[in-house]
C-alpha cells in the first residue's frame, strides 16, 4: 500500500474525528456524573447532620444539662453519631450513608445555656442548650477519582444546629 494514500484516504474519517472529540466527551460525561454525585453526597451529608441535630434536639433537657454543666450520657452522644452517620439506631454496624464516613468524622457539641431562658425554658430556670451536629472532613467517595478527573482527597463538611427541646 502506498503510504501517501493513507493521507488522502477519506474512509474512517468519522472514526478519526471521534477519536478527537472523545476526550472532551468523556470529560463532559464523567465530569457531569461526578459533579452530580458530589452534590448528591453533599445533600446526603446535609440531611444526615440535620437528622442528627433534630434527634439531639429531642433529648430530655434535664438529662443533657444540669445547672449549666453538661451531664449527658456518652451513650447518647454515640447514638446521635450513629443516627447521623447511618440514619438509624438499631444496628451499630450498619454501613454509613456515605461510604467511608467514620464516627470520628461526626462531632456533637452541646452548649448548655446556649439558647434562651424564656418561653418553655422559664420553667427550667436556666437557658436551654443548643446542639450542633457536624460532619467534619468526610472524604468524598469519588466515582472516578482513579481517572484523575476529580480530586480524590476532597473533604466535605456540613453542620446543623438545633435547640434542645425535649420530646
Amino acid at each position: 500500500m502506498n503510504p501517501l494514500r493513507a493521507l488522502t484516504d477519506r474512509t474512517g474519517a468519522a472514526a478519526g474525528e471521534l477519536a478527537l472529540i472523545l476526550p472532551l466527551m468523556i470529560l463532559l460525561l464523567f465530569g457531569g456524573l461526578e459533579g452530580g454525585h458530589f452534590i448528591w453526597t453533599q445533600h446526603k451529608l446535609t440531611e444526615a447532620v440535620r437528622d442528627g441535630a433534630r434527634y439531639a434536639g429531642r433529648l430530655e433537657v434535664t438529662q443533657v444539662c444540669r445547672d449549666g454543666a453538661l451531664i449527658i450520657d456518652p451513650a447518647r452522644i454515640a447514638e446521635i453519631k450513629l443516627l447521623t452517620r447511618t440514619g438509624q439506631l438499631e444496628d451499630a454496624a450498619k454501613p454509613p450513608l456515605i461510604p467511608g464516613w467514620t464516627s470520628d468524622e461526626v462531632t456533637v457539641a452541646i452548649t448548655c445555656g446556649g439558647f434562651v431562658d424564656t418561653g418553655i425554658y422559664s420553667e427550667l430556670g436556666e437557658a436551654g442548650p443548643v446542639a450542633v451536629v457536624a460532619a467534619v472532613g468526610v472524604p468524598y467517595p469519588s466515582l472516578f477519582g482513579a481517572l484523575g478527573i476529580f480530586d480524590a482527597k476532597f473533604r466535605m463538611n456540613a453542620h446543623a444546629a438545633a435547640p434542645v427541646i425535649g420530646l
Binding site: E123, P163, I165
Partner: protein
Amino acid sequence: MAPGLRHLARDQGGNVSPLYALVLMVLIALAGIGFDYGRMVAMQSELQNAVDQAALAAATQLDGHEDAMIRARAAAVNTFATATSEFANITRIANDDGGRTVSGLNFTFYESYADDAPGAEVTSDADGGNAHVVEVTTTGRQVFYALTPVIGAISSGGMRASAMAMLKKAGCNVPSIMVCVDRSDFPLPAEEGKGLRMRWKSSKDVTPLAPGNWGFLDIEGVRDSQYEMGENAAPRCFNLENLTTEPGFRNTEPDALNTRFDMPTNKLQCQDNGDFCPSENTRKNYAVAFTGTVISPKSTLTIADVRAALTCPAKLPAGKQTWVPFSSIGVIDRTASDSFTLDNCFFTNTCTYLGDGTWDIDRYLAGHHPGVLASSFTKGSRYEVYQWEKANKAARLGPELVGFNPDSRPRLSGTNYRHSITYHCSYSTPQFSSPVIPSDTQKDRRVLTVGAAKCEGISGRKQVELLGWMDVFLLDPSDPADPGTIRAEVIGPALRPDNLSGFQYFGKDRAVLIR
C-alpha cells in the same frame, strides 16, 4: 463561486466537527442541568433545615405571654440565623451575595392551626399572647449555575423554604387536679412556704370559679377513677389541648385523699404501686381511743394527770381501731396537739386562698417538740419541719397522749378517785399500712402535684388554660365537716420524684413542626 469554495461546500470530509460544536452546547447544558439541579435541591434542603430549626426555636417561646412574638423572633434569629452566632445554620451551596448564614428570616404568627390550615394571623406584637403557631420563611437565596449558562440560564432565582411550628401541650405523670390562681405567672419559686387553701365549689353553686377553687380536669381518654386524690401519679402522658374543667364533686375523693394520712378504708387499701398508701409522717388531728384507769386525789383530771398515769402503746395493738377526730375528744389541748395549721392570715381573714407564709411555728414546736426553736429551721416552712420530723421518726414522731374523755362519775375510794376514762393517742407514723418511702420514682405521699390554672370567671364545663404544675404539701386530711377543702402549703414548681427540675416532665410543651 470560486472553485475552492465550491469544493468546500461539497466536501463531506470533517462534517462531524461542526456538528459536534453545535451539539457540544446541548451536551454541556444537559450535564449542567443535572449538576445544577442537584445544587438547587441541596440548597433547598439546607434552607429547609435552617427554617425548621428556626421555627422550632421560635415555637418554644409561644407560651401565651404578651411578649411571645418578640421573644420568638429574637430566640430564633439571635441563636440560629445570625452570622456571628456559633450556632447559625448555614448554606454552603448558595453562591449569591447573601453570605453563608441563612439569615433574613421572615416570621408570620397565627392564632391556631386546624384542618391543615393556619387560623387568623396575629399581626401586632402586642397580641403575642394569641400567637400559637409560627411560620418561618427564608428570604430568597440563589444558586448561580455552573454549566447551564451556556444556554442562557444564569441563576435559580430566589428559592425559599418555609416551616411552620407550634407548641403542643401535654400533661404527664400528674393527677388531673387543678387549682385556680389569680396570676398568670404562677407558679413561682417565691411562693414557697405559703399556705394554700383550696376549696371545692359545690355543684349547686353556680357562681364562676374564683382563685383558690380546685377541681378536676377532664382529660381525654383517661378514665375518671373517682379516687384520683389517693392515687399515685401514673406514668402516662395525655393531650392538654382544649382542656376543660370537670364539674361535679365526688364524695369518694376525700376518702382517697385521706389514705395519704394512714386512714385507709375497706375499699381503699395500700396498693403495691403506691396508690392509697400513707406517707412516713402522718401527723394529723386524729387519735386512737384506749380505755384506762387513773387513780388520783383530784375529782377532775387534767391532761397532765392522765399523761402521768397512762402511756400510749408504742405501736397500735392489733384489733379494730378507728381514728377519732380531735374535735370529738372531751378534754384536749388543741394548741399543743394540733397538726400543721394554715397561715395566720387565714384565721384573721386577711387572705383569701394564698397565705403569706407566716404560720404559728412556735406553737407547733412548743406542742410537739419542746425545746426546739423556730430559728433552727432555715426556711421555717411546714414542709421543712415535716422533713425534719421524718429524719428521726423515733424521737420526733412518737405517739402522743393528746386528750381524754373524762369519767362523768369518778368513784371515790378512800382519799382517791378512781377515773375510768377513754384516753386518746395520736400516731404520727403509719399504723394501718406500711408507709411509702419517697424514692427516685416515688414522690412523697403528702406532696401532691396540682395544675395551676387560669380559670377565674368560668363556670361549668369550660375550657381552661393551665399555667404550670406545682407541688403542694398536704397539711391535714380532709375535714368531714368541710370535705371539699384541701389545706396545703406551696412547695414550688413541681419537681420530679428524684427532685430534679420538672421541666418537660409534668407539663410537656413540645415544639413540633406542622409543615
